[in-house]
Amino acid sequence: MTSAALRSRAWKLLEMVTTPLLPSDYLDLVSPLRAGADLRGRIEAVHQETPDAATIVIRPGKGWRGHVAGQYIRVGVDVDGVRLWRAYSVTSPTNRQDGRITITVKAIPDGKVSNYLVRRAKPGTLIQLDQATGDFVLPTTKPAKVLYLTAGSGITPVMGMLRDTEFQDVVMVHSAPQSKDVIFRNDLHDLVADKKLRLTELHTDTDGMLDITRLDELVPDWAERETWACGPTGLLDAAEAHWAEHGVAERLHTERFRPTVVVVGDGGQVTFGTTGKTVDADGATPLLDVGEEAGVLMPSGCRMGICFGCSTPLKAGAVRDLRTGEITEAEPGVLVQTCVSAAAGPCELER
């Protein structure tokens, strides 16, 4: 018998001993970060970056497969006893020696997870992780000239790139309300001093929001540069229009942190078939929020419609995509993203 077959036999036997629990339920007590466990991480340090942003140093479990600069991870943290999942960009380079990863989080008003991570998280805390994902990444062949166009916490994925890969010619235009709000300000200025980066730092409290047409003056050759942009919806919408207008849309890569809600429908009664719960939902509230409020165990992820971590079978009725207004009707095998879908009349989800 091969060793793999032997191991699987031994595991089966162990399962018969631990039933109705699994052997892993016991192993988790002593070794939650071991290979083969659900992916978790341990917070090792929290470094304050600005008054409302912090970098969290995480030791990932053995199952961590690494990331590509610019990608994000989903983290599940227990805030006031409730497991909440959010997505954050990885800000550490891929070749970090000690195997730790960092995410950098900006506390947003009423943000449960962000405020917890920035202000209350303690070293030693165990958190849930998901493998890195996202296609806001650097290409395998190095472009000659690069522009990073960022604002606020939109700098986080770009910082992951800056720390990871050096380019010959890198320009960054970054906006923040004031200089004290600039996350990674010291790191950026160190890079400038080393001549690895040319930086335009805009303070919107005094200078006003960046007018995209000013790019000609700030970065005259912007249209020739491979550009990665991340920041508020307004900036990204303007950038996409601007790049398209000049016929260079293919050079612009954007990452959004929030979905753009365009359509609000009628709502209706939502049934969670597996748990048998029924609640009334309006046409603006994502089904994910509806389910969570009702105490249903809803899978969730980025909460903005990109990671598909929340996909759930739609058994009956119809839902509306809050970003496009598109209606999806129930059919066998149809999955919907609950974080960006609202009830469009009565509907049933398999949860």
Binding site: G81, R83, G295
Partner: protein
């Protein structure tokens, strides 16, 4: 038979006011659920797993009497913790608010032969909804006993002290049969029902796994201690069964607990539902350790009022609930475990015989029919 309604002094308006006051108690707990509660259940689960692991480890050497005694005691406590404070309460959804898929009513399973799914249906959906309603709540004597004068007497009830004792010894199998509604479903026509057969198969699978673990694998792993480990796991299951049976009998059978007629719950309001739970349940008084080992079912009244509040909060809720009983001049049935167990057993014996001719009884001990 005299019919005295111990809630007759309450007006409809008072009953609704009572309901609002209970809602407020519930809201307060829900608003303050948090980190401490989550830490509590995680600590209990972790302690239970360690205790079970260590006890089973010790039992590998159960051929030595001290190891047998320590291991059996530990395993009994671990099984009781699994079923009572952990399993029963998680399956009630008391911890669903944590959104932890590993501690959730939809994913949990327990060290018990009745599959979690079936137990949740018969317990959460039927017993907790129709508490003490004759003909609706099968927990009233589990379909094998007569526990109220208003239940019809049949010669088979003569044997009910014996049935109850056997049920106590093999309680987990009793529950599995009960969750399957075996009595009803064994009728010829229902036996072939595919839905019933699927559920029966699920029970069969669960029994097989449980039996294999406790009576085959664990003894085999013990090598020379095979027989003593077998005896140990059997004893631990027996102790767990007797204990949980006693605790559960105390919840609804002791003297002073009311039962209700089917027609009395027609059009029942929220306030009236609460009132029925208050009058249909009984508590057990005792120490913190006592409450813990009963899975806080010693706070049966509070549990029936708020089945989905975290069990570690029932003690504080009980103070407020008891004040409401006093305010509305209702009897809060409670007592130490031996007294309540004795009271429940006395009733099992008494009602094995047909009702005596009506005679005048003292009203406080009289617990007959209630029209809500």
């Amino acid at each position: 038979m005299t019919a005295i309604d111990p809630t007759a002094h309450l007006t409809e308006e008072q009953i609704e006011e009572l309901g609002r006051e209970l809602d407020a108690i519930r809201d307060e707990v829900i608003a303050s659920r948090g980190e401490k509660d989550a830490a509590y259940i995680r600590k209990v689960i972790s302690a239970q797993r360690k205790l079970e692991l260590v006890s089973r480890g010790i039992l590998l050497f159960s051929i030595f009497p001290p190891a047998w005694i320590v291991g059996t005691a530990g395993l009994s406590v671990a099984k009781i913790m699994d079923n009572m404070e952990i399993g029963h309460n998680i399956l009630h959804g008391q911890w669903d608010w944590m959104r932890d898929p590993k501690i959730h009513s939809s994913t949990w399973d327990w060290d018990h032969v009745s599959p979690a799914e079936q137990w949740k249906h018969s317990h959460n959906e039927l017993h907790h909804k129709y508490t003490n309603v004759i003909g609706k709540d099968n927990d009233l004597g589990y379909g094998i006993m007569r526990v109220d004068e208003d239940q019809k007497w049949h010669p088979i009830h003569l044997g009910q002290p014996l049935w109850n004792f056997i049920n106590a010894c093999f309680f987990e199998y009793g529950i599995a049969a009960y969750d399957l509604e075996l009595g009803k479903n064994l009728h010829k026509r229902r036996r072939k029902n595919p839905e019933f057969r699927a559920r029966a198969r699920a029970v069969g699978r669960k029994i097989r796994k449980q039996v294999l673990k406790d009576y085959v694998i664990h003894p085999l792993l013990s090598g020379p201690s095979f027989l003593t480990t077998l005896a140990a796991t059997f004893t631990a299951n027996l102790i767990r069964n007797l204990w949980s049976h006693s605790v559960i009998m105390c919840g609804h059978f002791p003297e002073g607990v009311q039962v209700f007629e089917r027609r009395s719950i027609k059009g029942e309001t929220r306030g009236q539902w609460y009132l029925r739970q208050m009058m249909g349940s009984a508590n057990i008084s005792g120490s913190k350790a006592m409450h813990f080992m009963t899975g806080n079912l010693s706070h049966q009244i509070e549990h029936h009022l708020f089945p989905d509040l975290p069990s570690n909060r029932y003690a504080e809720v009980a103070v407020k609930v008891r004040a409401l009983f006093e305010k509305y001049e209702l009897e809060y049935v409670t007592g130490p475990l031996p007294k309540q167990v004795f009271s429940a057993w006395r009733k099992v014996f008494r009602l094995s015989l047909p009702n005596k001719k009506p005679k005048v009884k003292t009203p406080s001990r009289d617990k007959e029919l209630v029209a809500a």
